[in-house]
Structures are given as structure tokens and as C-alpha cells.
Assembly symmetry: C2
Homo-oligomer: 198 residues x 2
DNA sequence: TGAATGACAGATATTGAAATCTGTCAGCAC
DNA sequence: GTGCTGACAGATTTCAATATCTGTCATTCA
């Protein structure tokens, strides 16, 4: 009787994503998820204490997937300025591609993320740590002049908000975007490389 | 019979703001505005072609009021770096004070602004021009090393988005905010002052 | 004559009853 | 026992009728 696949959190999350894709955030119900898995909705509650926690788990998965490629770049070795440039452009690109490929699903994940703000906070923290790691390398290499890598990383992260924070996604189609990003990243890199005065 | 005050666009805008303050954006109707002025709602349509245009005019007034103190700073003379720092901190402060003093009204104006996106675009353009003006002065003074003041101004404006764009207003109460702003502005000023390589 | 009115049509918002959903739990099946 | 079911109470959402609002315009008034 092991032909019947066991109901795991993983399978539920998979089904939830599918249901969200199909019905959208507003219409997706726990009953729908259960129906997709061909179980009663009570069973879903055996694995997730509430609909909110199920949604949070979906959001977390999504954030983790977005994090992976950036983590890789952060761990590379080589000249820090080029790496930081690459990292920032990749982050911007990931978000941009997500919103272009499937704007509806992007909006869904966005609302989901707003509910799971603690997971988002942790995600941002990880990203800032990656930037701090690159900057720290840059200091060791003598390329960057920075007192506190973490503080500088946060400043760089803040400074690029406009190009990676979903709240601004409707401005990402601006044809002048590429040039503006070049100017911004150039300014930031110069700021990191410049000798400190204050 | 001149005791009866004439109905002017200005008076209508005044009354509209009052109605918005009282009833909130969702509940404020043209009929309410007319009632506040003790005229028929048809009369309001003699001065504004639609409810949307009335709202746009209110938004525009609001943006103009926010612009005035910044314009002053931009027109000051003196060392550009300090002026730029002052200008940016003032902009951040204006927004912060607005949201603290009356969060509800801030939210109202925010929604209003989203509808009047053309007016917002023009407002931002004015602000960037002010920054460009300061940067341009800095270049003349030999303090800044910048090829294109307007491009650099846009980069600075973009970089500070997190602290002046209303979409992030719920993060402005962060106790670490002051330090993060210091780090960000320091980074940007160093970037402007640093000799260009690229 | 030019500003204001108020009645009107169509669009939009409100409301309350009915339907659906969330979360719980006693009981069933393996 | 462990994992699932399905019926249930209370919360939430839907839907359609009802009310209100937006925008127009023929008419009134000074």
C-alpha cells in the first residue's frame, strides 16, 4: 500500500505554489490546496498550523531560491570591486527578470512577502552580510577604504534600493535604467575606493 | 450683494483638503466638498472638469509646498558638499516629519500622488534639477569630480530613495536610521569628491 | 450673459443574507 | 499509535438589491 505517496510539507508547498499560480493570491484557499493533493483540508493543518504559516513557508522558499545565485558570487575570490559590481547587477537582474517573466506571480509573491516580513528581514540580513563579505575582502586587498564593512554594506544595499526593492518594480522598465544604474554603481564604487576623511 | 464670497478654484481646493482630512480619501466625495462650500456639486464641476482633476490639483499643491524649502537651500551659496548634505537631510526630514505628524493624512496624500503620477514626475524632475545645481556648483568650486551633473544628481537622488520615497515610510522609524543615513551620505559625498577613473 | 442650480442617467459603493472558508476535533483506518 | 477524515462553529467572502455618487445639461437667477 505504499503506492500512495506520503503527504509531506514539501509536497504541500509544491501544491500551494501551483494553486497560487492558478488562482492567484486572493482566491487560493487551503481547500484548493487540499483538493490539488487529493486529501482533506484537515490534513494540511496537520503539517502547517495555519494558512498564514503555509504562506510564510512558501515565501521563505521563494526568498531562498533568489538568494542562492548571489551567495555564489559573494563566495567567489578575485578583485572585490568587480565582484561587488557583479553581485549588485545580478541582484538587480534577478528581480527584473522575475517581474518581466511573470508579473502576476511576482505580485503574488510580493504580497506574500509583506505578510512574512520577518522572513524578509532575515533574507535582507543575509544579503547585507554577503555585501559586507565582499567589501571586507576589498579592504584586505587594499581596494576599499572603509572603517566598518557591515555599515558600508548596508549603505550600499540602501543606495541600490530603487533597483531591487519590489516597491519600485513599475519603474524598472524605464529605458534610461541601464545608464542610471551605471552612474549609481560608479558613484558607490568610487565612494568605497576613496580615502576616508570623516 | 458682494457679501457672498465668489467660488474660486482656490477656495474649492481649500475645502477639498478639509474634506479629505475629515472623511479620508475613500469617503471624500464631490458632494461633500460642495456641501462644505454650501453650493451645489454642479458648481464644483464648473471649475474642475472631473473629480480626478480636482484630486490632481490637491496633490500638486501639496508637492509644491514640499518643494519650497528645498528650493531655498539649492539657491544658497557656499561650499557645495555641505549644501548637498543639508539639502538631502532636509528632504529626508520633511518627509519624515510629514509621516510622523499625521500618518493618516500622509497616506491620503500618498494615494493622491499615485493617481497624479505626471505631477509627481515633474516634482521629482525639479528636485533632481536642484541637486544638479548644487553638484554643478561643487564642480566649479573644485570640490566635486563629476562629468555630468544631471546624471550624478539622478544617481544621488536614486541612492537616497529609501529615505525619501513614501513606499519605505514604514521603515523610517528604525532606531538605526540616523547612523545609516550618515553612512549613506558619507559614501555618496566621497564618491562625488573622488577623482574619476572610468 | 455668465455663474449656479437641481434633476437625471449611468457608474460606483454599501449592505445584509447566503455561501464558502478557516481552524478544530472526535472518530476511523492502517 | 499515527495519519487522515469529515462534520462543525465561527469568521470571512460573495452576490445582488439598494443607495449614493459622478458627470451632464436644460433651466433659473442676478
Amino acid at each position: 500500500m505504499n503506492e500512495v505517496v506520503v503527504l509531506t510539507p514539501e509536497r504541500i508547498l509544491e501544491a500551494t505554489e501551483e494553486v497560487l499560480r492558478r488562482y492567484g493570491l486572493a482566491k487560493a484557499t487551503v481547500v484548493d490546496v487540499a483538493r490539488a493533493l487529493d486529501v482533506s483540508h484537515g490534513s494540511v493543518y496537520r503539517h502547517f498550523p495555519s494558512k498564514a504559516s503555509l504562506r510564510q513557508a512558501v515565501a521563505k522558499r521563494w526568498l531562498d531560491r533568489a538568494n542562492a545565485p548571489l551567495q555564489k558570487i559573494a563566495e567567489t575570490t578575485g578583485p572585490a570591486p568587480a565582484r561587488l559590481d557583479k553581485w549588485l547587477r545580478t541582484m538587480i537582474d534577478i528581480k527584473y527578470k522575475k517581474v518581466c517573466e511573470d508579473p502576476e506571480m511576482f505580485a503574488t509573491y510580493l504580497s506574500l512577502a509583506q505578510e512574512a516580513c520577518e522572513a524578509v528581514r532575515a533574507h535582507k540580513e543575509r544579503l547585507v552580510d554577503q555585501v559586507a563579505h565582499i567589501i571586507s575582502d576589498g579592504v584586505k586587498q587594499g581596494a576599499f577604504q572603509v572603517t566598518d564593512a557591515k555599515v558600508a554594506a548596508r549603505a550600499v544595499f540602501d543606495a541600490t534600493t530603487r533597483y531591487h526593492h519590489p516597491a519600485h518594480s513599475d519603474e524598472w522598465k524605464d529605458p534610461a535604467k541601464a545608464g542610471r544604474i551605471d552612474a549609481l554603481l560608479g558613484l558607490l564604487l568610487r565612494g568605497l575606493e576613496a580615502p576616508r576623511k570623516r
